[in-house]
């Protein structure tokens, strides 16, 4: 059976060029970069090149790049690193729609006595910069706001956020896991202090991440150990994956312009096609700036897990913010924060494209999705009863 993989916000296929670049570091250049011999030197060179490639990709200096094991580690290192560097400041600002890597710090920080502000979003998923401005105080230790949302693709205005936060001299962290490779990032111009991203969303393997730390930003190391990463992150470097991430960044940069155009075109084709063929569909974040690859929509009166399983029967991979898929009983916190009614949130599906996605794959989805939605709606007790008229009345 063919595979139509439209779940690239979950993870991506590793680029064959990336596999090729990393392979020798398993078998030939397997030394420890810290070792004083030629094997170590080769590994060290691989890491140094990767650091250059990542820095280049972000518009940063190589010494500002810290390699970590994943996005979640980078988020933890940034948040706890800054809070521990400013122990007298007890206020943390973030948003209600963050990834769990940031969101689930909140109960922990509250238990430790921190005051936490969770900024709200509007119906389109946009932040209110006035709310952000008003939340900042002398006591604010750190602001952490994601660059782009994993579920809806909604992009936050990072330049304006940085202006507001930096005008108060407060450290700013952004989780850019879903932004890297999908929108241009130039840290030479964008004054954030800390930025997280992850390899496997960018056609590198799982298990490698980056924390960008602007020169001069104070950070207490999260992972204490050896002198690796200039003492900022202990632990022997994951050389093959670091090399892979470097290569993936180089490729992402090369492809950026063309892949943004291409993904946006195909995403819009998918969105348009769905709206034309299927009634009672809500596109989440339709009126906000979005990453070019993400389409989140709610199919009213049916439930997301059912939809996913029937898509899967056809080889189509997508994801859902419905309660049932997560094992929790409540639908996605992002959609709830946007005020998407529960009645629609349970039927949410996210399609996320990559630079490998083809027009033919999008058309395959458009060919089969209407039938699947119809099939499930025919089973649903709410469909004929309330029908399209209900939606208009709301």
């Amino acid at each position: 059976m063919r595979l139509v993989y439209l779940d690239n916000n979950a993870t991506t296929r590793v680029d064959p060029e990336v596999v090729e670049a990393m392979a020798p570091y398993f078998t030939e250049r397997y030394g420890n970069p810290s070792s004083m011999h030629q094997s170590g030197a080769l590994a060290h060179k691989g890491v140094a090149l990767a650091r250059e490639q990542v820095a280049q990709f972000l518009g940063a200096h190589p010494d500002e790049i810290i390699f970590t094991s994943c996005g979640t580690e980078s988020d933890n290192a940034a948040i706890h690193g800054v809070l521990n560097a400013y122990p007298d400041k007890r206020h943390f600002v973030t948003t209600r729609v963050e990834h769990p890597a940031v969101l689930n710090q909140i109960p922990y920080l509250k238990r430790k006595g921190y005051r936490v502000t969770e900024l709200s979003v509007d119906r389109d998923g946009n932040l209110d910069l006035e709310e952000l401005r008003a939340s900042l105080t002398e006591d604010t230790a750190l602001v952490s706001i994601m660059y782009a949302n994993n579920e809806t693709g909604v992009i936050f205005p990072m330049e304006e956020i940085a202006q507001v936060v930096k005008s108060r001299g407060i450290p700013l962290h952004t989780d850019a896991v879903q932004a890297a490779g999908k929108i241009p990032i130039n840290l030479g111009k964008l004054p954030v202090d800390l930025l997280t991203f992850s390899g496997h969303k960018l056609h590198a393997p799982k298990g490698i991440g980056v924390l960008y730390q602007r020169r001069g930003t104070r950070l207490v190391p999260f992972m204490v150990g050896g002198h690796q990463e200039k003492g900022r992150r202990g632990g022997t470097e994951n050389v093959p994956y670091i090399v892979a991430l470097g290569k993936a960044c180089e490729l992402a940069q090369q492809h950026l312009g063309s892949s943004i155009r291409r993904m946006a075109e195909l995403r819009d084709r998918l969105q348009q096609g769905i709206l034309e063929r299927i009634p009672n569909v809500i596109v989440n974040g339709a009126n906000a700036p979005r990453t070019p690859n993400t389409l989140s929509c709610c199919f009213e009166y049916i439930e997301g897990e059912s939809l996913l399983l029937l898509l899967n029967d056809l080889g189509i991979c997508a994801s859902s913010g419905s309660a049932c898929t997560s094992g929790s009983l409540e639908p996605s916190h992002v959609l709830r924060a946007m005020g998407v009614p529960y009645t629609a949130a349970h039927g949410s599906i996210r399609f996320s494209l990559s630079r490998y996605t083809t027009e033919e794959e999008v058309d395959f989805v458009l060919e089969h999705l209407p039938g699947i939605v119809e099939r499930l709606r025919a089973i649903s007790p709410f469909w004929g009863r309330e029908g399209a008229a209900f939606r208009r009345a709301v």
Partner: protein, 276 residues
């Protein structure tokens, strides 16, 4: 991905008895769009009080759709009194088991059945009088008590898996704990203690007991049977007899038996079928 049994997937992909009975004798509506699952059950009852037809419409996940469909198959042909004895566990067993977190789908079926029968009998359902416990998912005390009683639940997490109560804001956790404690006292049931590892002898005896008293009688009802061949560490070797011996769904049955033994004896048991 959920670990759904083949039968759940089959009943999800090809649900039996979908639809509406226009001149139904009883209709049961439970759940809501906001809760994430909802089921409307229609029953047709003849003059001998026998259910001659049942149809359903469901909004929900795969296991909710499969449970609804299984329910209709379970009750068609039964008298109303017999149908009242169909529990949510019967629905889950019919499907070769449901993931624990999805047991509430089978409870949804049971609730719809009770509602449809009450409607048929022209009764006002007593549960409407019952105080609401979980506001997020609209679950009342009566529904929670029934799930506890019929499934032998002992923990708050189980109550959430079976009824959804407590799966939202968490405000009602204390109330659910109170109900659990009260019911344990009333039924002289002590909350199931944390399982101590069984000795080999205890394990074998318990396996034997569950097979003899619970599993074999059920198989025998369908003209089948099974023999316990050996218990080797955590491996339980069984062999089917009678109609079960060459049954193509023996794989499903093995999984069902394994689920039962895991629940009753030890979660690490593996059931294997060996040639007779």
């Amino acid at each position: 991905m959920w670990d759904y049994s083949e039968k759940v997937l089959e009943y999800f992909r090809n649900p039996r008895n979908v639809g509406v009975i226009e001149d139904a004798d009883g209709v049961g509506e439970v759940g809501s769009l906001a809760c994430g699952d909802a089921l409307t059950l229609y029953i047709k009852v003849d003059e001998n009080d026998r259910i001659t037809d049942a149809k359903f419409q469901t909004f929900g996940c795969a296991s909710a759709i499969a449970s609804s469909s299984a329910l209709t198959e379970l009750i068609i042909g039964k008298t109303v009194d017999e149908a009242l004895k169909v529990t949510n566990r019967d629905i889950a067993d019919y499907l070769g088991g449901l993931p624990e977190e999805k047991m509430h789908c089978s409870v949804l079926g049971r609730e719809a059945l009770l509602a449809a029968i009450a409607d048929y009998r022209g009764e006002r359902r007593e549960s409407i009088e019952s105080p609401l416990v979980c506001e997020c998912f609209g679950v009342n005390q009566e529904e929670i008590e029934r799930a506890i009683r019929e499934n032998g639940l002992t923990t708050r997490e189980q109550v959430t898996h079976y009824t959804k109560a407590g799966g939202g804001c968490g405000k009602c956790h204390e109330k659910i704990e109170e109900i659990l404690t009260r019911m344990c006292v009333e039924e002289e049931r002590v909350p199931r203690p944390v399982r101590k590892p069984l000795t080999n002898l205890q394990k074998i005896k318990l396996v034997e007991e569950v097979i003899e008293n619970q599993i074999r009688p059920e198989l025998q009802k369908d003209g089948g049977d099974l023999e316990l061949i050996d218990v080797d560490g955590n491996r339980v070797l069984i062999s089917f007899r009678g109609l079960c011996a060459n049954c193509p769904s023996a794989g499903i049955t093995v999984k069902g038996i394994q689920d039962r033994l895991r629940e009753a004896v030890a979660p690490e048991l593996v059931v294997e079928e060996v040639p007779a």
